[in-house]
């Protein structure tokens, strides 16, 4: 029996995939874990995933210039 599910295919590198898996532990949005670089998720969560991913990557970036953080962004 064929089953059809609507959702969003996320393509990413393995690192980001791990981050997504981590996020999933809290919210459970992954429909199917396809392979190393692909995950199939619910459409409603995409924006949230993108946002938290960006925040996480931001945390782990080091600016090579030591200046007081400006409030621009």
């Amino acid at each position: 029996m064929v089953k059809v599910i609507k959702g969003v295919l996320l393509q990413c590198d393995p690192t980001v995939k791990q981050v997504i898996l981590n996020l999933d532990e809290r919210d459970h949005f992954i429909i199917e874990d396809l392979d190393e670089t692909h995950v199939f998720v619910e459409a409603s969560c995409v924006e949230k995933v993108k946002k938290s991913l960006e925040d996480l990557l931001e945390e782990n970036t080091y600016k090579f210039e030591s200046q007081p953080p400006n409030n621009k962004d």
């Binding site: 064929v2 996320l10 393509q11 392979d35 991913l53 621009k72």
Partner: protein
């Protein structure tokens, strides 16, 4: 020409069509009733400015520049008229930001800024034609006027009385762009500026080469600077720009963190944040790099490659960083009864070119939103076929279970 009945064969002589000959002569000499070269104003302009050419250059530069300034977001400049803003949005050079309700420069807009003035004017006029259609203006009349523009003479005043209502509207709008000058709205005459008269000449830098009072002529300054190049970029991401044009500085400010400003130069730094901001505005890394490349200072040209590789690579990396996650909507097909069914459907989907991802071992594949309808129809057709031909019980039953559809 014979095919167009312009030339006719008359007992071995070539004869030109009489009407065509008359009009042709008119066109060449500028005589007759037609107005393809504009109608010079018959009365004397009492308000004619002194040194009219310089005045017009000044006016053209000021108007055009105010539009460019508005695009890069220089705060101090006055906002252009609504017609100009509408055109900017319609042409996709700027887009309305919902959160702040302000206009913001787009990817296309940035590209636009990098072109020379003549190309910009042409791009603007083309957009204007598009826009005119929306406003239900007669395109033929607008085009007619544009073609006439190119043949007008600088410093000559032309009368608006012969123009149609549509064309009068065009005169009004072009005056906003700085292509034409009118003293006031009700004025019966208009002067074409250098922006308009050089349209067809193909001599793009005319605005810059002409001796004009240069303190105010920033576009001219920009052209000269563009020819020479003024940016020095160092391997430590520091950037020095030898320019005093507010426009150039504003362009730099789009992707560079400017630190200090001196009389004839600005000094800034390319940082992750500054590039990120440019990227969020839709400017691509490639555009930034090509801009830096084409405006590099002659001193930089001594080194090979022109720009420090570290910086270029880093800008590209910063851009890639933003696109680590790619999302595409689709439908996941899974739980096929047997390998053959899977192969069959997948092959069909592949011929349609809608497969985003597939894995034979898991017997799953993902198709795009567009392809889903067709693939579903294909499966349903197969189910129907199976049912009709289901004489023996071993035939697998096909069924689509719809989830969230």
């Amino acid at each position: 020409m014979s095919k167009l009945y312009i030339l006719m064969d008359d007992h071995g002589h070539m004869v030109m069509n009489t009407t065509f000959r008359e009009q042709f002569r008119n066109a060449l000499t500028g005589g007759g009733e037609h107005q393809s070269f504009g109608v010079p104003s018959s009365s004397v302009d009492r308000h004619r400015p002194e040194n009219v050419v310089a005045f017009l250059d000044n006016h053209a530069t000021r108007q055009w520049e105010s539009i460019l300034h508005y695009m890069v977001g220089t705060a101090s400049m006055q906002t252009p008229k609504k017609a100009v803003r509408d055109l900017l949005v319609r042409s996709g050079l700027m887009s309305l930001r919902l959160d702040t309700n302000e206009l913001k420069i787009t990817n296309k807009g940035f590209q636009f800024l990098l072109q020379d003035v003549n190309t910009q004017v042409w791009a603007f006029l083309l957009q204007y034609l598009d826009y005119a259609e929306v406003l239900q203006m007669d395109l033929v009349e607008v085009l007619n006027f544009f073609f006439m523009l190119g043949s007008l003479e600088l410093g000559q005043d032309y009368s608006v009385e012969q123009l149609t209502d549509t064309q009068k509207q065009v005169v009004e709008d072009l005056a906003n762009f700085g292509l034409l000058y009118r003293r006031k709205r009700s004025s019966r005459r208009y002067y074409p500026t250098r922006l308009a008269t050089t349209l067809t000449s193909g001599n793009s830098a005319l605005l810059g080469r002409h001796p004009v009072p240069s303190a105010v002529n920033l576009v001219a300054g920009e052209d000269i600077a563009t020819e020479q190049g003024f940016i020095i970029l160092e391997t430590n991401y520091k950037l020095y720009a030898y320019t005093d044009s507010p426009l150039q500085i504003a362009v730099l400010n789009l992707f560079c963190d400017l630190k200090s400003r001196f009389a004839n130069m600005v000094c800034g730094m390319i940082t992750r944040d500054s590039i990120k901001e440019a990227l969020t505005n839709g400017i691509t890394a490639e555009q930034i790099i090509s801009y830096l490349n084409s405006h590099a200072h002659p001193q930089m040209k001594k080194s090979m490659p022109l720009l420090p590789l570290t910086v270029i690579d880093q800008i590209r990396l910063w851009e890639m960083e933003r696109n680590r996650l790619q999302a595409s909507e689709g439908h996941l097909y899974e739980q096929f009864r047997c390998q053959a069914d899977y192969d069959n459907v997948l092959r069909y989907a592949q011929t349609l070119g809608v497969v985003l991802w597939s894995n034979a071992r898991k017997c799953m594949f993902v198709v795009t939103e567009v392809g889903h309808q067709q693939v579903r129809a294909f499966i349903q057709k197969r189910i129907a076929q199976r049912k009709n031909g289901a004489t023996n019980s071993s035939t697998p039953t096909w069924q689509t279970q719809r989830n969230n559809m």
